[in-house]
């Protein structure tokens, strides 16, 4: 059709003014195109040195510090944010570049305590960025806890703890099965009076499940690995954190075990400022088969 048209009505050559206009329009368009693509590519800058690496929700597809698969798979919709009962999940902002709109957890402010039991964020994820390959909290690998400031740790000093773990103004929530099996309450509403501070062990979701499992059915001979049979939650096969004798004398020392999933509750509840125990996001242990 266009051939026919050109043979019928040959186009007159463009005037110089018109050619100039076209050239200017082309350059303008090129400028805008380069600007838009350039700005979008600037989103890759925070990847340098993993500046946008963060503690991610359970099941986040990642391989140590390399979050590429997770950032690629996430559709930035925030459905995980909406289902979290303790509101631990937030979406990253512009400074995270390609991580904008991607979920993360600020453990010190509000950690994931698995109080949804069923890994609701994983179930909510429409793209598999939070992989459906895991079923239980103990299958999760978000990071790994580390005693960052052993000298500050109350247990290491042989000190007890009395009062609200993070003070009266702290908004963070945890679920306490003995208070309410289903609804998390403010940590500030659950004060303690401990002869020796063991909050990081006592409140560890993995340790709590181990105790629940053990209480549900006494440990049988030969059942060393898997502490007890499952009761609603699969029982964690390994400990996450235990208090061991302090090699330097007084008190006891929190020791992170291979069962640690990096949920961050220990970091959230640690009563000293700044926290004595932190989560490393570039370290995880193998999930036993």
């Amino acid at each position: 059709m266009s051939e026919q048209e050109t043979t019928n009505r040959p186009k007159p050559p463009l005037s110089k003014v018109r050619r100039d206009q076209n050239r200017r329009e082309f350059l303008r368009t090129l400028g805008v195109g380069v600007g838009v693509v350039g700005f979008s590519l600037a989103g890759l800058l925070p990847l340098i040195g993993a500046a946008n690496a963060r503690l991610r929700p359970p099941g986040a597809l990642k391989d140590l510090l390399d979050e590429q698969r997770f950032l690629a798979a996430c559709i930035k919709c925030g459905q995980c944010v909406q289902v979290c009962p303790v509101e631990a999940i937030h979406l990253a902002d512009l400074l995270d570049g390609v991580g904008v709109g991607v979920p993360f957890i600020d453990a010190r402010a509000q950690a994931c305590d698995f109080s949804c039991d069923g890994l609701q964020c994983v179930l909510a994820c429409p793209t598999g960025a939070l992989t459906h390959d895991l079923n239980f909290p103990a299958d999760t690998r978000m990071g790994f806890a580390r005693l960052d400031r052993p000298d500050a740790c109350l247990a290491m000093q042989g000190k007890g703890f009395k009062g609200q773990a993070r003070g009266p103004g702290f908004a963070g929530k945890l679920r306490f099965a003995e208070v309410d099996r289903w609804t998390p309450i403010a940590l500030a509403d659950h004060p303690y009076d401990l002869d020796l501070c063991d909050l990081c062990v006592r409140l560890c979701p993995i340790e709590i499940r181990i105790i629940e499992c053990a209480a549900a059915k006494p440990q049988l001979p030969g059942q060393v690995e898997r502490v007890a049979e499952k009761i609603g939650n699969e029982c964690p096969p390994r400990h996450a954190i235990t208090l061991e004798p302090n090699p330097n004398g007084r008190g006891r020392m929190p020791v992170i075990q291979d069962g640690c999933v990096g949920c961050g509750v220990c970091e959230m509840v640690c009563p000293v400022e700044p926290t004595a125990i932190v989560i490393d996001i570039d370290r995880v242990t193998e999930v036993p088969a």
């Binding site: 266009s2 026919q4 048209e5 019928n8 329009e25 082309f26 303008r28 368009t29 805008v32 195109g33 838009v36 693509v37 700005f39 979008s40 590519l41 989103g43 890759l44 990847l47 590429q68 698969r69 950032l71 690629a72 798979a73 996430c74 559709i75 930035k76 919709c77 925030g78 459905q79 944010v81 909406q82 289902v83 937030h90 979406l91 902002d93 512009l94 400074l95 570049g97 390609v98 904008v100 709109g101 909510a124 429409p126 793209t127 598999g128 960025a129 459906h132």
Partner: protein
């Protein structure tokens, strides 16, 4: 067939040539001949304009559309704030009463970057594809996209300033949009990151509404300032790949705006209000191929032209519905 080809040319930023006489129907030629014979006076046209300006029809579709767009976006916000779970998620992906929805362009970016598609995403993408195919493709832009609404207000400001000659609409080549579409496809594939999502004002605005504002809104603000002071509706016209994706969906969609040559006075008011005025070039005298022409798929079905037309020469139609009824 020519509807699809012309639509594709628009979407690719190419111009659609005026139809040769051989391609025009006898009926439309008669109409154009009659119009040439009986020219309307300026007073007559102004009287028709004035009569239309006061009617309830003047902003009917715009009002319906704004209400729809605001409700659609508010459902997201309310669902989360009050935990009603009607629509969970954001514009990029959501669950509507439990059913997966995924924005086509976001799903494309994720699939290209991740190089793997889970079933839920496939279901969500297919659902949205069927939904917007039924509703008209780029209907998404003007009836659901949160950026569209704020850009419309910025456009109002731009037009006010332009009327006072304080700003001038700087035009760009419309081929930029398909080129950038290709660039963002290649970038997602090559880098393994959803590069476009980082700057998508649709995603940013939707998340800001639902989860609270953030620094990313500064980018949206920058775009709006550019549109107010430099180039009218620049993002939607020259950049947004989401619009192009939905434009392709709309190629065969039954919901269209239909143009009737007979009653048209060729004043060009419709092209002045249009986001994508090239689709309304058929309203220029001599350009229509037939007495009734469907407006091409790049049209966002916003209805501004339907509202502004004093002679009802532009109306919404649902293809095939007349036959069914």
């Amino acid at each position: 067939m020519s509807y699809i080809l012309d639509s594709l040319r628009h979407l690719l930023g190419l111009t659609v040539e005026r139809p040769t006489p051989e391609r025009q129907s006898q009926e439309v030629k008669f109409i154009y001949e009659r119009k040439a014979a009986e020219r309307l006076t300026r007073e007559h046209l102004e009287a028709i304009e004035a009569a239309h300006a006061g009617t309830a029809k003047r902003h009917r579709w715009r009002n319906r559309r704004w209400v729809t767009l605001i409700i659609v976006n508010l459902i997201f916000v309310v669902s989360f704030q009050f935990d009603v779970q009607l629509v969970e998620g954001a514009m990029t992906a959501s669950r509507v009463i439990g059913f997966h929805f995924a924005d086509l362009n976001s799903a494309l970016q994720v699939s290209l970057a991740f190089k793997h598609v889970v079933l839920n995403l496939l279901i969500g993408t297919a659902t949205v594809l069927i939904l917007w195919w039924l509703l008209g493709g780029r209907t998404f832009c003007s009836w659901a996209c949160p950026y569209h609404l704020i850009a419309e207000w910025a456009e109002w400001l731009h037009l006010k300033l332009a009327a006072r000659k304080w700003v001038k609409d700087v035009r760009f080549h419309r081929e930029l949009r398909p080129v950038l579409y290709g660039v963002f496809v290649v970038l997602a594939l090559a880098t393994g990151y959803t590069v476009f999502e980082t700057i998508s004002p649709t995603g940013i605005a939707s998340r800001a509404l639902i989860y609270g504002p953030g620094l990313a809104l500064l980018w949206v603000l920058a775009l709006l300032l550019f549109e107010v002071f430099v180039s009218r509706r620049a993002w939607c016209r020259y950049v947004c790949p989401i619009g192009l994706t939905y434009g392709l969906v709309g190629l065969t969609s039954p919901v269209r705006v239909q143009y009737k040559v007979d009653s048209c006075h060729h004043e060009g008011e419709c092209r002045k209000v249009c986001l994508v005025p090239h689709v309304l070039d058929i309203t220029i005298k001599g350009r229509a191929q037939d007495t009734h022409v469907d407006v091409a798929a790049d049209c966002t079905r916003c209805g501004l032209c339907v509202d502004v037309c004093p002679t009802d020469s532009l109306t919404f139609k649902v293809k095939g519905l007349n036959r069914v009824l």
